[in-house]
Symmetry: D4
Subunit: 250 residues, 8 copies
């Protein structure tokens, strides 16, 4: 239908029935057709200049391969998140040049060796505990794949706050910080109090008892005394890395 | 009834019908009668050697005066918690030697000038924010009245973690620490990571949005990565001060 | 800076101008102090180049005046949030050159007329409903006072999604977007799907029944299908404006 | 029908063909029995003119077959919901003319080829994401089996709101709309703002973190700014399709 | 801007540059401008043929009068919800022909005496208890004002289920049913089990203890064993009446 | 009774005294009617032999007087719950022989001096704390007014468990026990462990912090290790007294 | 130890050192020893005259056999709850005269054929749905084993309220009613409105979405408009049957 | 120690043995390093004089062995918590002198036979039910391994409160009490009412229905009427034992 309409307007223009200016104005509002075409994974919408992402959880390796095949024609880079090792191996049999990051449970496939650096400063990924590393790695790989310089420091929880100060320089130099914590979720508040840059806090579901599957960490982060903190959903490593990247890109 | 029974047993002993050992054994289990008599405020039970406490909230000044009068006969010290200024003034008209601590909303009345020092070390009360001071003061006054040396540092929240280190010595020297925090409730975890002594964490209802009336702080404290932390109810300043005192007394 | 100071002291020691004992004493505290002095209001920590903020709720006008007086010596701009009209009038009697924004419940005081523009792009504040305007205005005034160009569009809720498209140009041009919504909290997701720039979503407590004081909006925002969204606490207009500003400043 | 039967019995009594005692016995049970008799699955009560439904979850294939056998005598159409593939295959071995819809996890068995069209307008089933399709299909198959014309559009979530406008015509023409969404649950609000017809919103348990098993989507839908929305239980695809059908049937 | 565009298209048509068909098609999609204008209260969106509604809560009588004045020019009927008696009296001083329904807390203003009957069948409003009457009346007045025949039966709670059967005829004859209940929220399930027509269940915040401000009733209604039930937000009388009306109108 | 009536109608049909059509009409509604007449207050349904109750909260003294007047014609005893002192005084001006129990906030009006004793054993009302007394008294007065012998012991909370043993005899002799507790809600479990008789546990909203308005006490009681415990709603003193009475009456 | 003490007292009595009266008084308070001995399963405390119960969940068949062996010496009847079929078969290999009720997941072992009838009236177990039958059966078997006459009617949910009236006589005749429901939990309220006898309501975890594992049914039951209802924990069939039995026994 | 080291470096500078630049470099990191060195497991921070602990859950036996090997060089005692039997057996193959406590799921490895007694009094571990024993044992083994004298009494729940009094002497003699309970969580309140010493209450996730995975027990404990109670996280046996130990050590 949109196509018909498009042709009609263009015919009016070519026949002198519609000025170029008016046609342009009209066309501006049917622009979604061509954008729509690019939305293969509809839950992780990406705009031009950024790689597509495939949410691997609940998809078979066949489905993942199928989506990659369709995307590979036009994309420079493809990310797949939440892929366990067995699925990843099947996918890599088909795309031997893809790389599987087991700790982050992500597959990264790039068309060209070198990806242009898009971010302006460095992104730093900090995590409170060893068990937070998998989701922290998801944020790390995402930010890296999106063309940023990324540093990471794991296991600097608040129970030994002095460890944080060992990394003071790295913290001070970061352009955007992604701070991961489960349990009491205190790390983002402490880190945000040390810097003037934006901190993306993301809670993990690590813990037991009243950690409530990450709700306690989430609420603690939203209650942060520092104002340079904004929060993403529990275990949403991809989202944290993505948000940090677009902040860094501006 | 218990009294009659007591007399009976004693008569048996005096008549040689019951050995001293057996009498002692028996008497041990009717000891609640005489203790019961002393339990005027039944919600804040105190044992020998510790002052009674009157929970002032929801009581009229007349009721508070009545209870103090009954208690003053046998007690060395009397505490009243959660008393607003107006009520306190009425009470002080009757007991001119009592002292009202407006910030802690407590009345302290002592029979003698000097109260014997019962605690072995120093108790330190730390609070995260200025708005936590009232409940922090309730813990402070309670611990003081119970015969402890008490120090306090207010407003050392985690958003400016360096401030904590200014008070490192005081923190290191404390025998028991009471750490108060609302909002993200992170301070007790950070402090407990710095010391080897027991930390009594108590959450306050200070905050808005997802502070959830103190639940977020409470859950964060229960999730503390440090193991030398135990927690009391939201806004329970008296309980925190009391628990710290009995730990310090051992 | 600390490094320079440290080397200076060491040089003094090396040159015999400072005893080992005095140097040790000085070094012990050095690296906190110079950072410390800027933290007048400990709950809204600001770094150099950004104005201080005073959280007005629960403070008397006398207390607010006192804090402003202390800050005015060294600060170029002072913000006071959550001040009702009556308190504000008392404060303005003392600081006649301050401005009170009644809808945002904020006082802004500036030393000089012109405040240097620090942000790189435009910040856009969007709100879903008329009742969200007060908190939306808090974000707006904050971002403005922090040296940003700020636009705002109020009342573009998802129940009449077409209204959003009327402002498409403004939305496309924004460098950072602050999107406010109560009730179902859907607006940030919709807006984030339209742009490639970072969206700071902030939920309000507006609503009844299962709006649950803003929790529903908060959770909806955290669940956003778009990845360029991060969230701040319920009704935290200042925090949203602040976070947007530091993102824009980078 | 009951009335006819009742009058028939009374006529028999009046004509002396049935004794008073036997009539009384019969009448005592009549008006439940024929209704009751039809309630084989007591949790999905259906009235005259509408197909029976068997809730397949937690039932063995033997139990399902048994119930179908009892029902098939008098029913024109039989629905079985929440049947996994393995169970369905066993059932279809017995009823070879039944159809299994794997995506909706439903079995539909019809006595006659053509089912009379009962609905007046078209029902449109819209879903926000690909993962919502299974429950959306349950609503779709239910509405279809109940004699409605049904259209469906899947994957038109609010993160790419323009996609919705591609289907504007279908949306405008629908008599009743069933709108499915998980995560932030925003789609029903947006769609309801575009139409004047009733929208049945149903939340799915799809999501992680603060999606809280569908509670966030549910609450968001109940908070909808549009008033032409009513909501059914989480993942209740059958209920949504059923409710839409009886609205369409009026 | 839209207006200019409208003129431009019309000029093209009048000049023969654009066919009537094409112009109509184009105009269909810029229709929001003129509707937008009519959306004075943006939280209760109404489409053509239905009265506007003003949400009175949190608005001054001056604000309500101002909105009515703007709306009265073009509307046939105006509803104001949640207006207390004092405010209503001020409003009626200005609009003496408006009617205030004190129990429903609603103002209804009509331009003409007779409002065309739009609904096809009868709407029945049932409530469980006497304390539910105010919100039940909001639904009743709304449905009435929207041109429906409406019946109501109050106080037929499930604790005396036989009372319900006294009204069996009325229940059987209703085209759409609005069933209100607080506390255990059982009434909608029971009623829906008796009829084949759609039931709009709406929970009230009436109750204490574990009524949880209406959440228990809401959840009970969503869990209804009957499938012809859909639910609106707690205390949302207007929404229930509105939804029933548009179902009845089809 | 219905059976007799049914046969009578059928005999009339058989004898030609009643037409088939009229008989059918009558039979359709018959079995509800005779039950109906006894329900005056629909929220506190009482059966013959038990007093009516008027829920006073939210009713004006005029409304309460009006209801009493209607009831007094046929009832021997009338209870009004949750009446504050001011309202009660107005009611007593009209009914000078009624008695107001200020602590229980109840009015009791009796037609005759002596009310027949209906319960078989003694009911014992136990409460944990002094602040639970008002609701405990509601249960006490209710049980008393319903014709039971009732004892009560207040302030025997688990923090001084020995006090409970002082009342061992009274506890052992009770036929039914009503045990009230707020805060940790432990008393019913402890008491139920001491007796073989049924314990009605009822939680109060007394407490702060995580007492969660009585939810903690409620859940604790439902989790009781003793099996002779059943629970009523938070603060539902009337319900507890009522349930105890009907158990005692059997 | 207690035994020694007992001997000592008795020796005092026999030697004339202690009067019979005093000895009796003393012995009254050491009576727990002999009762304690009988408490093999400490979570289901039973008093004299009632059978012991073994909570089977989480115990191996060996452990269950061991406990039965110890109990069988002195008990007339033994109940084991929550035993799956496999475990039950192992237990029955050892105790061939025990009976396994597969639907209730209970083992009942009786020493003698005839168990004395202890209850005074009939207990009626009613359940709302077919899926509630297993827990309803637990209540049924428990009440039966405890010496009551028990009737049961399953599957009389409120979605077809007429079915309830078929069983009116049985309902009217019951001395105590146990009413089971999941989902919206409405049945106990409806039934309690029909009778004057005590109703033990017990919620089941059956349902999905907002049934919240039985919490919705539980809260609905606690909110019952009828006052002759008290509630036990979710899925607590044993507790419901036990409580009904002791009420019936009085 | 740090002071000594600092002065040493400064002396080296003063004596020209160390350049200013090198000294600055060294001083920058000094005060963390020596503390940091001891933190091998970052989630269970231990200070000098106390054994390290390894959280076994989610770690492979290989990982556990690896950590023990690194720690064994310098530690006297090593604890591993939450290790199932299979993992434990693998670990013990490598460290044949370690001991596995199956009920507590802990491995204890000691370098020397005799561990110096550090605690001053006795720690008593009390648990309410048999199912609480595993977590209670975790507390017991932890306290024992940390050099305390520890007693334990299991299965003294409040449903048979008399059992508690059998152990009165042990309870009275304890220096610190760890009281474990699931379900209604009442035991710590009762015990704390009997003693003047600190009680560490810890809730377990044992229970069903409204035990809510331990939240009910947790909240009940936080609401304790006794003030000598502080609480740790649900199922946190190690934390309870640890906290009790450091209280006992003072």
């Amino acid at each position: 239908m949109n196509m018909e309409y498009l042709e009609k307007i263009l015919k009016n223009v070519s026949a002198g029935r519609l000025s170029v200016k008016d046609a342009a104005k009209t066309l501006k509002h049917i622009h979604f057709e061509d954008i729509n075409y690019a939305h293969v994974d509809h839950h992780r919408s990406m705009r031009k200049g950024f790689p597509e992402v495939i949410f691997g959880e609940g998809k078979t390796s066949e489905q993942i391969i199928g989506i990659i095949e369709r995307m590979a024609v036009q994309e420079e880079i493809i990310l797949v998140t939440r892929v366990d090792k067995m699925k990843a191996e099947s996918v890599l049999l088909r795309f031997s040049d893809a790389v599987y990051h087991e700790d982050a449970k992500m597959i990264v496939w790039k068309k060209k060796e070198i990806f242009p650096l898009q971010g302006r400063g460095k992104i730093l990924v900090l995590s409170a505990g060893t068990s937070d590393i998998p989701v922290a790695k998801e944020a790390y790989i995402t930010a890296l794949a999106m063309g940023n310089e990324v540093d990471s420091v794991f296991d600097v929880g608040v129970a030994g706050i002095h460890r944080l100060f060992d990394h003071r320089k790295m913290i001070d130099n970061a352009s955007v910080l992604v701070v991961v914590a489960g349990m009491e979720g205190a790390l983002p508040s402490v880190v945000a109090g040390m810097v003037s840059r934006p901190v993306i806090a993301f809670p993990t579901s690590i813990g037991y008892g009243v950690s409530l599957g990450g709700l306690t960490a989430l609420f603690a982060m939203l209650n942060s005394c520092s104002s340079n903190v904004a929060v993403v959903n529990i275990d949403n490593g991809f989202g944290a890395g993505y948000m940090a990247s677009i902040i860094n890109r501006c």
